[in-house]
Each structure stands twice: as structure tokens, then as C-alpha cells.
């Protein structure tokens, strides 16, 4: 008897019939055998997928219109994911130290640009993506205002959104110091000098931000920690509340 190798489509069917495949893709998944383009299977595709699960099964039709949301909230979220991925990559090659003996932070930046495989591209993506995220988050806020999406019952979600905007600016600003070049420390010096004018707690506020009286190695470590773990952690919590409230408050606002 001559054994014939199975055709690709036959092999695909056989793989999709295995217990392992079926254990990974829940009923209704588009990757499962027997997915039908019916209302029921479409609903299951949304409900049974961890990524699509952010969404409800159905949305108001007007929410699909590009000119209603301009995808700004979704793009901001996607940029956050992209920045997390590129940021983790950069963390492998970066040390937040700038002692008298040698500024590791700066030399690491140089080697990311010159010796790390794809280092330059990833660093560019991280930097430009960060600027773009500040932009999209701000525009997202404007969109929400113009569509009146902050009105009851969505008042609290607007407040969460303002906190997220503030955190986005904080993340961007803390990241600005990390290259430890002339641009970084002087931009941060200008930005933080204003804290020295806060009423009653001027000195304390300044020390809290800088870990000293001027921008120095302590500031770098402090802002690095804020940038890579503290602020993202807080942001993710508020992000979860933000997304959850969208669902609870009845999905996308409108129509106008």
C-alpha cells in the first residue's frame, strides 16, 4: 500500500480536529472547525476571545462611522501596547546610572543606536510613538467633548480620562530624561523648575521630583522607576476602569 501525504487543507482539518486545538480555541472561535458566518457564531467569536472580550457582542451602528470616533481611543491604547513592547526591548540595553565616573545611561543610548540589532529602529518607534500618544490622547479628549460623550451616565469616565491624560503626560515627561543628553536634562530642568514655585511646599516638591536640588543621577533613577513601572502600573489600573465603565455606561455614546 502506498501512503499518500495528506493535502494541506486535509492536514489543516485534521489539526483542527485534535483535542489540543479544540482546547485552545473555544467554541465559536473563527479558528475552530465549523465556524459559520452566523449571528450566533459571530457573537461567540467576540465573547470567547480574550482580546475581543474588551468589546460587547454588538455595538451601535453609528459607532462604526470613522468620523464619530476617528479610532482615537483605540489608537491611544494600541500605542500604549506598542510603547510597552518597545520599552521592554530598550530596558534590556539600558542602565539608569549617571555617576561622575561615567554616564552609563548616555553610553547605553549610544550603543542602542550603533550596536544593538534593530536598536535604532526600536528606539525611534518608542520616541515617536510616545509623542504620537500624547497627541492622540489629547485629540481623543477633544472628540469626547465634541460628541458630548461626558454627559450622564459617563461623567466619571470623563474624570478617569482626565487622569489618564495626566498620566500619559507624566509617562512622556519621565521618559524624556532617560537619554541623559543635553536635550533631556535641560528640558526636565525647565519643566521641573516650576515645581519650585508651588505654594508652601516648594522645596519639598522640588526634592520629591528631583531627589536633590538639581537634575542629577538620583533624578535619573527616580524617573526611570516612575517611567518603567510606577506610572504604567497606575495607568493600567485606570485604563481597566476606563474600559469597564464604557461597557457599563452603555457602550459608545450618541448618536448625535
Amino acid at each position: 500500500m502506498k501512503l499518500k501525504p495528506p493535502s494541506p487543507s486535509d492536514l489543516g482539518d485534521r489539526i483542527r480536529e485534535t483535542e489540543v486545538w479544540k482546547s485552545i480555541f473555544r467554541p465559536g472561535s473563527i479558528f475552530r472547525k465549523g465556524y459559520k458566518d452566523t449571528s450566533r457564531d459571530r457573537a461567540l467569536a467576540t465573547m470567547n476571545n480574550v482580546l475581543y472580550h474588551l468589546h460587547p457582542v454588538k455595538v451601535k451602528r453609528h459607532g462604526l462611522k470613522l468620523t464619530y470616533t476617528f479610532c482615537l481611543g483605540g489608537l491611544s491604547f494600541f500605542l500604549f501596547i506598542l510603547l510597552t513592547i518597545t520599552g521592554i526591548f530598550l530596558m534590556f540595553f539600558y542602565r539608569p546610572t549617571a555617576d561622575i565616573g561615567g554616564a552609563q545611561a548616555f553610553t547605553d543610548m549610544q550603543s542602542i543606536r550603533t550596536s544593538v540589532f534593530f536598536g535604532d529602529l526600536v528606539r525611534n518607534l518608542h520616541r515617536w510613538g510616545a509623542h504620537l500618544m500624547v497627541f492622540t490622547v489629547t485629540l481623543h479628549m477633544a472628540r469626547v467633548f465634541y460628541t458630548g460623550a461626558y454627559k450622564p451616565p459617563r461623567e466619571f469616565n470623563w474624570v478617569v480620562g482626565v487622569i489618564l491624560l495626566f498620566l500619559t503626560l507624566g509617562l512622556s515627561f519621565t521618559g524624556y530624561l532617560l537619554p541623559w543628553d543635553q536635550l533631556a536634562i535641560w528640558a526636565v530642568t525647565v519643566g521641573t523648575s516650576l515645581a519650585g514655585y508651588s505654594p508652601f511646599i516648594a522645596k519639598q516638591a522640588n526634592f520629591l521630583l528631583l531627589g536633590g536640588v538639581v537634575v542629577g543621577p538620583e533624578t535619573l533613577l527616580r524617573w526611570y522607576t516612575l517611567h518603567v513601572i510606577a506610572l504604567p502600573f497606575v495607568l493600567v489600573i485606570f485604563l481597566a476602569v476606563h474600559f469597564w465603565r464604557i461597557r457599563k455606561d452603555g457602550g459608545i455614546s450618541g448618536p448625535l
Binding site: R42, T46, Y52, H55, P56, V57, K58, V59, K60, R61, H62, G63, L64, L66, C71, G74, L75, F78, A98, A103, M109, D120, L121, N124, L125, R127, W128, V134, T138, M141, A142, Y146, T147, G148, Y150, K151, W158, V159, V162, L165, F173, Y176, P179, D181, Q182, L183, I185, W186, A187, T189, V190, G191, L194, G196, Y197, S198, P199, V214, V215, L256
Partner: protein
């Protein structure tokens, strides 16, 4: 199962009926009470027979539940026969009789412990709850014109995502992010500017005391933004009904935008005014 099938203790029946009637109970109620007392007395006196009876009563029910397959085949046959026997007396009687003959289950007193399932009990169980009308939350929501998220919204989101990713990658391949010389605390660049999103505030520093420009105004912006939904109580989302809100927001947003642009492109050495097309751009991202 017919009424006559139930064995009972005649002595107990007579004495209970007499006692109930003497109390002035209605005859129908008294007969019922006497009958139940008599049946219970009979079963107490003949436990082995009562058990057999109970098993016979339970069997048709179980067979009916499983769809009468295999071993239970004899039992369903018995049930229609019993029904047929009582047919001359009329259907309602048969129903009442079967209610009486249903074996009485003595439920154990609640212990507060987690109940252990009986041996051989079915894996499935049904829950029945009585919900008082005031406990029901009525949700009124118009169904509206809705579409499935998969594929309509998700396709749109993925396309938006890929377009942005492609654009950003393209930009990143050709334009390098700036990296100047090593930080030097003793050498202040001229001009030294904050990141672009703070340049509006830095521009305000030209006109106001640093405490106003750096503390009061940013705080006012943040708190003011957060307070927007609580200040604007106009329930309408139609742009025509929101002229004041939209105008105010647009003016403030434009104001911030213009200040940021001035701070970015129209300020040069010494943070003095420059024309970007004449003296060049002093701006870095």
C-alpha cells in the same frame, strides 16, 4: 396510581375522622387529614411494605426522566395501566389521587453544613427560586440599530492599527530621534525648552509670575477639565443645543494650541521672538 392502591390503617382513619368532625372541621378536610394520618400509621407499622411502595412510585418517574430506555421499559408500561384503571372515575380524580399517593419525603432538618449529594443522585439539578416582584430590576433599553463587533468593528480597528503602525515604522526608519551630546549641568543650551506639550505653559511664563503659569494655571486646567461634566448640565448631545459649551471649549483648546505653537516655533535664543522662516526653527522633539 389509583386511590384504592394506597394501603392504610382503617382504625386510625376512623378515629381521626371522628375527632376532626367533633372539632367542627369541614368534612372534606377532615377526610383528608384522617386519610393522611391513616397512611402514615400504616407505613409506620409496616416499614418494609412502605419502602416497596415508595420504590414502585418512584420508578415510573425515573423512567420518564430518562426517556424510558433499556431497563426502565416495564415501568412506563405500568403507568398508563394505572391511569387507565382510574379513567372511569374521571381525569381530575386521577390527578388528585396521584398527588395523594406521591411518597412523602421527610426532609432532614437544615444543619447549616454543605449538603452531600445522595448516592446515585443525578449530576444535574434544577433550581427554582421565587422572586418577589419588587426584587426584579426592570431594564428598559431600546434595542436600537446594532451590528456585530466581529467582524464589523474589529476589522475597522485592525485596519486603523495597521495603518498607524505602518506609518510610524516608516517614519522611524527614515527619521532618527534626536540624541545630543552628553548631559552637562554646567552648559545651558540656548534656548532651553521643555517637551513640546509643556511649551504652552513655558510660553505663559513670559506673561505671568511662575507660580501662576506653572502651578495655578495647570491646576486650574486639570481640575477644570475634570469638572466639565458636573458644570455642563445640559443633557443634549446635539451640537446645535451646545453652542456655548462648544464655543468655549474650542476657544480654550485653540488657545492652548496657539501657545504651544508659538513656544515651539516662534521662540529662539534667549526665548525671544523669532520668525521660523527667517531665523530658523529652535525646536526639538
Amino acid at each position: 396510581m389509583a386511590k384504592e392502591d394506597t394501603p392504610l390503617d382503617q382504625g386510625v382513619f376512623d378515629s381521626t375522622l371522628e375527632a376532626e368532625l367533633a372539632k367542627g372541621t369541614d368534612r372534606r378536610v377532615a377526610e383528608g387529614r384522617a386519610r393522611s394520618a391513616a397512611v402514615r400509621a400504616y407505613r409506620a407499622a409496616n416499614p418494609e411494605e412502605a419502602a416497596k411502595h415508595e420504590a414502585a412510585g418512584a420508578k415510573p418517574a425515573a423512567a420518564a426522566a430518562t426517556g424510558g430506555d433499556g431497563g426502565g421499559a416495564a415501568a412506563p408500561a405500568a403507568a398508563p395501566a394505572a391511569a387507565a384503571a382510574s379513567a372511569p372515575a374521571g381525569a381530575p380524580v386521577a390527578v388528585a389521587a396521584s398527588a395523594v399517593t406521591t411518597p412523602v419525603r421527610e426532609a432532614p432538618l437544615p444543619t447549616g453544613n454543605v449538603p452531600t449529594p445522595k448516592k446515585g443522585a443525578a449530576d444535574k439539578h434544577r433550581l427554582l427560586a421565587l422572586v418577589p416582584p419588587e426584587g426584579i430590576q426592570r431594564v428598559e433599553r431600546e434595542q436600537g440599530d446594532r451590528v456585530n463587533v466581529w467582524p464589523h468593528l474589529l476589522i475597522e480597528e485592525f485596519v486603523a492599527m495597521f495603518i498607524m503602525l505602518a506609518g510610524l515604522t516608516f517614519f522611524s526608519v527614515f527619521i532618527n530621534a534626536p540624541l545630543r551630546e552628553l548631559a552637562n549641568p554646567n552648559l545651558t543650551p540656548n534656548p532651553s525648552k521643555a517637551p513640546w506639550y509643556f511649551l504652552g505653559l513655558q510660553e505663559l511664563l513670559r506673561y505671568f509670575h511662575p507660580m501662576v503659569a506653572g502651578i495655578t494655571i495647570p491646576t486650574f486646567i486639570l481640575v477644570g477639565l475634570a469638572a466639565v461634566p458636573f458644570v455642563d448640565r445640559n443633557p443634549s448631545v446635539k451640537p446645535g443645543d451646545r453652542k456655548i459649551a462648544i464655543t468655549l471649549f474650542t476657544i480654550l483648546f485653540m488657545f492652548g494650541g496657539v501657545l504651544t505653537i508659538i513656544g515651539s516655533f516662534f521662540r529662539g535664543p534667549g526665548y525671544n521672538w523669532v520668525w521660523p522662516w527667517a531665523q530658523g526653527v529652535f525646536f526639538e522633539l
